[in-house]
Symmetry: C2
Subunit: 370 residues, 2 copies
């Protein structure tokens, strides 16, 4: 593989299998899948998800909405509560024909949406696990927001929640419980809105761990998930994939050693891996990443234990000094590093290198910024 | 300030003062300053450093070398040990007139440099504190590498070290001791090379904390430092600056609240701040950053305590639920967040917004990738 290092590789076979796995699960459970493209920020990746059956996309920034709309994606959910000063930019997208849906969780934001005079499609964010934003499913404010939007001329499309605390779990039982809580509380919020006369056709829930754990999705219309397309070591520790499913890796080159310490120095530092240390408090702490050979086969027991901006230090996970590193990993050796967090690692790169089953490669751009 | 959030701001007054402070110190100590431009990856920032008296630049990637050379910088030190498969790209720069200096710390890399047949200028990396790469100052191999290069037709320009373990210190005494160790061991390596007949005109040392702590730089010819140009909260905890000196901040907008918890939700998540949690094990843990008002004045006691990709959660550092957050920080409020680590935060952005003393702003591009 003649690719300059460090580089972000996508294993096409693994990605296809990850896409198929969640898509088939969602189809079997009777809901639409709306992938979150914040993970890849890559048109080509989203096209693969669309071809496999995804319905629309989820974005985390207006830049994503603009980029994907320019590439032909029209059904776009912007799943971060709208900042009133971003309404002009959102409106410009709507006027160009983008079916952009906004999100609110406050009277202030709902009022700002209504004040535009444009019939924005809007969802209301529900807090189903206390980890971030959203209104409580039983809150009086939920109905007030719904009525303000509905009576003010906006189209209340539904309710949305994200059980992000699923990232803190690591047993199938706990994940199933949280998935059911995410479903039940969001469905409950929808029922309250409907009872009060506010239309609420859509119930949108999801996170990769809960999407892969839910037993029933009764009352849900769509599921959102992002990182499943690549998976990563955090997801492996949570238990929803194996390290062998991780489709994103960083290709790196050995540039030196500290033989007495058993250290291999590579050209993938934190700029190449990101500063994400998501496995730090999980079952297995992989440092800045798990080490594979150039073909992607895991080398058991090694990790990127330290990272400077452009230097990674590979050593044994158990802390022992590895023997014979100079001979086993001579300068020039190529390795692949599996990331803790695919969204953060991908963000460090202007493009991905797709590695096809044939061994051939292709460059897929990704974008940066807001 | 009419800037879409999140955005990376540079406070021009603070940056100018940071640049002047180190430049004046280095001039007083009789050495050249060769700033590390990996921090900013921004031509305009490096021009300010050059105008203040810097001599040449340091880079961490060949992309940086290419970008800065294209902008007129010719004296460039690539301070990561050269990977043999990157020699062609380095040679192309040399042939276009770039005075590019390479770094090696092994016989294998030195042999690869010599094998090109080109009279590369090369420095040898010395390990002065055990934190990463480099040969030991007393190692037999140091002389062997020097002779291999010198006799093989390369130009041995000198020795280089970086006491990166300075980031783990936080007292002036410990910093002064490490600065002296960095100086003494690198000078010692230079003396050994000279005694063995290998020319070694340059002795290059540095890290921001040691550069600001060294009492004597006898025998040193140049100092390298990067993050001093912006400073950050890690540097404030180390004790070489105050939070009020930090020139880089992230402008963000309040998009919601969780009033019972005293949380303010902003549109600067980890994508905007980076995943760097460098203050986690320091005197003051600032979470993902310290909170200032829109003018950059620190709001004591607050931090970005949690971050999702595009959501930041601001709460009190002492863990207590802040009262009245909805009234004090209404939706739409602009805040500035000081970063843990300026190099990592800057890397999340395609450009900086320079905020001039006049209040006017200017966009300065920065680049990404390798």
């Amino acid at each position: 593989m003649d690719i300059e290092t460090p580089a972000a590789l996508i294993d096409e076979t693994r990605m296809a299998s990850n896409i198929a796995r969640l898509q088939e699960r969602m189809t079997a459970l009777g809901v639409r899948l709306r992938p979150h493209v914040k993970t890849s920020k890559c048109i080509e990746v989203a096209r693969r998800q669309q071809e496999a059956g995804a319905a629309g996309i989820t974005v985390s920034t207006l830049k994503e909405a603009e980029q994907f709309f320019a590439a032909g994606f029209t059904d776009i959910l912007y799943a971060v509560c709208i900042s009133p000063d971003k309404l002009d930019r959102a409106l410009a997208l709507r006027r160009r024909g983008c079916a952009l849906t906004l999100l609110v969780d406050s009277m202030v934001a709902a009022q700002a949406v209504v004040a535009t005079g444009h019939a924005f499609e809007v969802m209301i964010e529900i807090d189903s696990d206390g980890h971030r934003s959203g209104v409580q499913p039983e809150a009086v404010e939920l109905i007030a927001i719904g009525k303000l939007l509905h009576e003010g001329g906006a189209v209340v499309k539904g309710v949305l929640t994200h059980a992000g605390s699923s990232y803190d779990l690591d047993t199938p039982e706990a994940l199933r419980r949280l998935a059911e809580q995410e479903r039940a509380l969001c469905v409950r919020a929808a029922e309250r809105l409907r009872s009060s006369g506010v239309p609420c056709p859509e119930v949108s829930i999801g996170s990769t761990p809960t999407a892969l754990s839910a037993q029933s999705l009764a009352g849900v219309t769509e599921v959102r998930a992002g990182v499943y397309v690549f998976f990563d070591l955090v997801m492996a520790n949570i238990g929803v994939c194996a390290p062998e499913n991780v489709a994103l890796s960083v290709l790196t080159t050995v540039i030196g050693h500290q033989p007495e310490k058993g250290w291999v120095i590579v050209d993938a530092g934190w700029m190449a891996m990101s500063r994400d240390r998501g496995t730090q408090r999980q079952k297995i702490d992989y440092g800045y990443g798990a080490v594979c050979d150039a073909d992607g086969k895991l080398i058991e027991g090694l990790m990127v234990s330290g990272a400077n901006q452009e230097h990674g230090i590979i050593s044994r996970r158990d802390g022992a000094a590895d023997a014979g590193v100079v001979e086993r990993f001579p300068i020039g050796t190529k390795l692949r590093i599996l990331p803790n967090h695919a969204c953060a690692t991908g963000a460090q790169y202007p493009d991905y290198h797709l590695v096809m089953a044939s061994g051939g490669t292709e460059v897929w751009p990704r974008f940066q910024g807001w």
